[in-house]
């Protein structure tokens, strides 16, 4: 395979994996928090939060990318402070691709987790509480294990979306080989080039292979967890 892909393409594949991995990993805790908040808490602005989470889904990726650019760009309203105070720069770095992918994948992740949390029987959590476990402990020892299949589903959806994310990424952090040139961006680029379809097709197969591998892995994990819960 290393032969079959040019080093540049190979880089794009690795970069995509890296970006997707980090996008999922970093958004996981936020996703869980937001999903939990939407599923269980009542607070003013809940529906606004719900709306914001769904925004990346409903807006054309170009718009999301643009909004990211003017917010987290080097001169962006938030980006400049992140840079000044923490030295975090997203613009035109692979970290920016991670941010874009995470934002785009967030609604999918949150929905899956939220459904899972809503399906947990609060009676079990109550049982945990009567046995002396505080809220965080109940969450960790009862809720989390029970929602694991949903978390895996959410993560895998997010991973797939992150692997395929392109519009927001290229708008936000451009298409820089080795930094922000992910697999879909590469595919897109090839599609733009006269006669590039064959090359694009090759990368498409790579993308499909990765997706299938991730899916199989997630199915396996879900099944394992589900079987444990169903009581074997």
């Amino acid at each position: 395979m290393a032969d079959w892909l040019s080093p540049d393409e190979w880089n794009a594949v690795l970069l995509s994996l890296r970006v997707s991995f980090w996008a999922v990993l970093i958004s996981l805790p936020f996703g869980l928090l937001v999903a939990h908040a939407l599923a269980r808490w009542e607070f003013p602005g809940k529906q606004v939060l719900n709306g914001i989470v769904h925004l990346p889904l409903i807006l054309p990726p170009v718009v999301t990318g643009y909004l990211l650019l003017i917010t987290f760009g080097r001169k962006g309203s938030v980006g400049q402070y992140l840079d000044q105070w923490f030295g975090i720069v997203f613009a035109f770095r692979w970290t920016g691709a991670v941010l874009a992918a995470a934002v785009m994948a967030f609604p999918l992740m949150v929905r899956a987790m939220r459904l899972a949390i809503e399906a947990v029987d609060p009676k079990l959590e109550q049982a945990g509480a009567t046995l002396g476990a505080s809220k965080p402990w109940v969450w960790l020892t009862v809720t989390l294990p029970m929602i694991l299949p949903g978390v895996v589903a959410g993560a895998i959806l997010a991973f797939a979306k992150a692997m395929g994310e392109f519009g927001a990424t290229i708008t936000f952090v451009s298409n820089i080989p080795g930094q922000t040139r992910t697999l879909p961006t590469a595919i897109y680029s090839f599609m733009q080039v006269p006669g590039g379809e064959a090359q694009a097709a090759r990368l498409v197969w790579v993308a499909i292979a990765i997706a299938m591998a991730a899916l199989l892995l997630s199915e396996w994990v879900s099944r394992l967890v589900a079987r444990r819960i169903s009581g074997k």
Binding site: G128, L131, G132, S134
Partner: protein, 355 residues
Amino acid sequence: MTLSVSLRHSFPGITLDVAFDAPQGVTALFGRSGSGKTTVVNAVAGLLRPDHGRITLGDRVLLDTAQRVVLPPHKRRIGYVFQDARLFPHLTVRQNLLYGRWFAPKGKAGAEFDQVVDLLGIAPLLARRPGHLSGGEKSRVALGRALLSAPDLLLMDEPLAALDEARKAEILPWLERLRDTVRVPILYVSHSHAEVARLAITVVMLEAGRVTRTGPVAEMLADPVSARREAGAVMTVQVGPTESDGLTRLDSAGGPLWLALSGMAEGARIRLRIPARDVMLARQRPEGISALNILECRVGEISVLSGDVMVRLAVGDEALLAQITPRSARGLGLEPGMPVFAVVRTIAVATGAPG
């Protein structure tokens, strides 16, 4: 430590208005299905926040809606055996059992793991997950889980309902010992008079969300009106010597009773529950009969209860109840003050502190 409960809560169809004290030992919550027993227990556990109420355990305030004090469930240090088991499906039976221990205050010893597992007969299940356990197995694990969490207060909502008689007979004496050694209040919901008579010290009767009567088990179960079907009296006796054939003499004001008891210290005072239906009356002391336990007593109040006659008997200063047919009552010519002999088949022995 005394648990003191007073609460008011409205559901669409029923309003709960309950107040009672549960001292050391077992307090039974008694009442028909839907009378509010589980709701009360949930409020004590902190799973239901009543509209108004105050619940204290010793000097700890668990709830005081007037002062806006609401201790969350995990700080109440309770062991709750739910009516519907509620085992954690993702943990093995062993992990379920040990869950509470994890969070128990260090240094506070609960029941012994091996002992509880043995008693409940769940050793072969330890490695399994609860999904495919049988109904009774689930309820035994749930019982074990609560017992092992070293609680300050035990809440048991029909813990033995799904168990067979043999298993019950093994667990009950153990619960009695628990009640007497671990000195925590136990709130016990049950439909079985026998269980309540054995275990309970106080009985709280619920009806449609209200406490209709509350008091020591002896009085409550001897009250013919409130406990029609399974009326009976609780009598305190003193343990005497055990004879060679294994029977122990129990001394009462009405004469000796003989019972197969074991491990009971001579001189201890224990409680016997004598169901009214198991007491026959005779004008003369019956001879040549298989009944060993015959008490001298005096007829007290005679009341007629839907087809039966309930006779209250005075045995010294204790009360005994006999439920007989009107025909027998006529035949015997019973009258208050008349001396009679009560032929007794004792059903339940309620050990422990006298009520």
